[in-house]
Symmetry: C2
């Protein structure tokens, strides 16, 4: 029982049914995951290959998913670059020594694959445990989103400090993004060498920018990053939220697949970026809390909008939320299978 | 020295120069405001007509603005309906007895103008103090945004509890939105009777919805609210953030002016909703932190995109942020005047 639907859809090849996986499919909504997390911090799980691989497999064992994604955090790449990362129960990720000026940027260390040995080992173990059942996706944060975390020192509502650096010192901004891109490229190439069969770049915060600012301050670094990953030969997925006005620019960055959030209608957004690129999405994560008949309608609506075109991967428009009912996740996957079969 | 540019632009009449005002123009970025707030809580200022009027006038005294907006909070309407509202220094507004079920909705009280006497008095006083220099705008929260605050008990990142009620009990949801609309209509009519020359409806959180959900769960109540306000004869501005994919639907709700945030390009968004409606916006509030030459370029870009068409009101894409440099606010207004003169 092996599935290559996901990789085929990434390459816009015909599939027998629409592939499905969910961002943060290994997470707090699963008892199995909670049991691991009761004994280990999130950073411990990420950095202990056995635990990361175990958690990666949990949703694949339980649901009929078409892909696994390595359990990790988008900020891991910042640690070997010299930033101190911790996770607060309430505040989420916190960076204790944020990047605020030219000196801070200068101090960021260049990293190579060796810094990510834990990640390569986790990918290798998960790959072995998967035994070819479904492909394994690697991932990292995008340069802009990592820059925002590094500068703000954590999550931010208005990204004021980030945009200040961007507007006031575009020269320093571009140096920072290039350094981050180097680190991300090394991290992802390492995951690919270890066996990741596709990679997703999460630009979670990029939706705070106007199209003009995205084009000027973000597009060059993400384009160069994707260009450097291309020779590795695995599909590259580029995803952000709140990006409806950025999608045509994001498309031009060169990824194989563009992630769509639930603020856009799949057919309309796909037409806008062009049907010659694969798309992934786009169920509202909160729709998983809806009664099952309502959830079913919503899954069908997305599949209908995909029009059975080559190159659609079913996913959420953002990560699964912690309180999501696990039976609804199961049901949503069944609905995709039932309705998305050619 | 009186300005009727703002009201003319709302009605799509020709103006000598583009009118400008800023959301939250009375706020923490001004020393004068901080001095008042050092002695009084935000709710005290809102509910003491002398203080609310004083604070309303502060930015008009200091800057060459084309409109004043009454100092208030979008949640004030919830108190006489029976919800207990407090403001936390960190968390912002908190509702101590949130609305979670049919009983809670049933208990919400219907209100009339008498409940908002403080607001009418504040509007009257501010109007007198303005002495006709610039028009005075009244405002309220929109039904969806107030429902989200009432249900979540404060700000929310994912609006899970709100959407759960919406998806699980659409019947109760619509009753809640109708009750809120009644309260908002009474509140705004009261402000108009007291002298408000335009009203703005803030749908701050509505950008969390897909177009389909907006159409089904929000559009009916906002359309009915705007319809009930129309006979009062003052321009109605409808504003939200993260709304780029909702704009055509929002336009159909019937307001005179549509507020645009900075995620859209003004010309592109205006063309999409139709040039036969006025628009307001749309500078990124963080652009006020940029160096002045950069800020100037951004102001010019928006004015250029407006193409000197009738019906553009210059504003930010969201409220002024607390740390905004006051000289940059002043400069931005000057740039609008200089470049936006016909």
């Amino acid at each position: 029982m092996t599935s290559d639907r996901f990789l085929k859809a990434c390459r816009r090849e015909p599939v027998d049914r629409t592939p499905v996986w969910f961002m943060r499919q290994a997470g707090r909504y699963m008892k199995e995951y909670q049991q691991v997390r009761a004994k280990h911090s999130i950073l411990d799980v990420c950095k202990t290959p056995e635990l990361a691989a175990e958690v990666t497999l949990q949703p694949v064992e339980r649901f009929a998913l078409d892909a696994a994604i390595i359990f990790a955090d988008i900020l891991l790449v910042l640690e070997p670059m010299g930033l101190e990362l911790t996770f607060h129960e309430q505040k989420g990720p916190v960076i204790l020594n944020p990047v605020r000026n030219q000196d801070d940027i200068g101090r960021l260390r260049r990293v190579d694959g060796e810094a990510f040995r834990f990640s390569a080992e986790a990918v290798g173990m998960a790959k072995t445990m998967l035994g070819g059942r479904v492909p394994l996706i690697g991932f990292a944060g995008a340069p802009f989103t990592l820059a925002s975390y590094a500068i703000e020192g954590g999550s931010s509502r208005n990204h004021v400090t980030t945009k200040q650096l961007m507007f006031r010192r575009p020269d320093q901004w571009h140096v920072l993004l290039e350094k981050l891109s180097d680190g991300i490229a090394a991290y992802l190439q390492n995951q690919i060498q270890a066996g990741a069969q596709a990679v997703q770049i999460f630009d979670s915060w990029v939706g705070c920018l106007s199209p003009g600012d995205y084009k000027k301050y973000v597009l060059p670094s993400i384009t160069s990053l994707i260009g450097r990953l291309k020779p590795a030969g695995v599909p590259i997925i580029y995803f952000g939220t709140g990006t409806s006005t950025l999608l045509p620019l994001m498309r031009s960055a060169g990824s194989d697949v563009l992630g769509l959030d639930w603020h856009v209608e799949l057919d309309e957004a796909w037409a806008r970026v062009g049907f010659d690129i694969a798309v992934q999405g786009n169920l509202d994560p909160v729709a998983l809390f809806a009664p099952l008949p309502e959830l079913k309608c919503r899954v069908h609506d997305i599949l209908q909008r995909s029009g059975n075109r080559v190159g659609h991967i079913f996913n959420l428009g953002h990560g699964i939320l912690p309180q999501t009912p696990v039976e609804h996740v199961e049901a949503a996957i069944e609905y995709v299978h039932a309705y998305g079969t050619r």
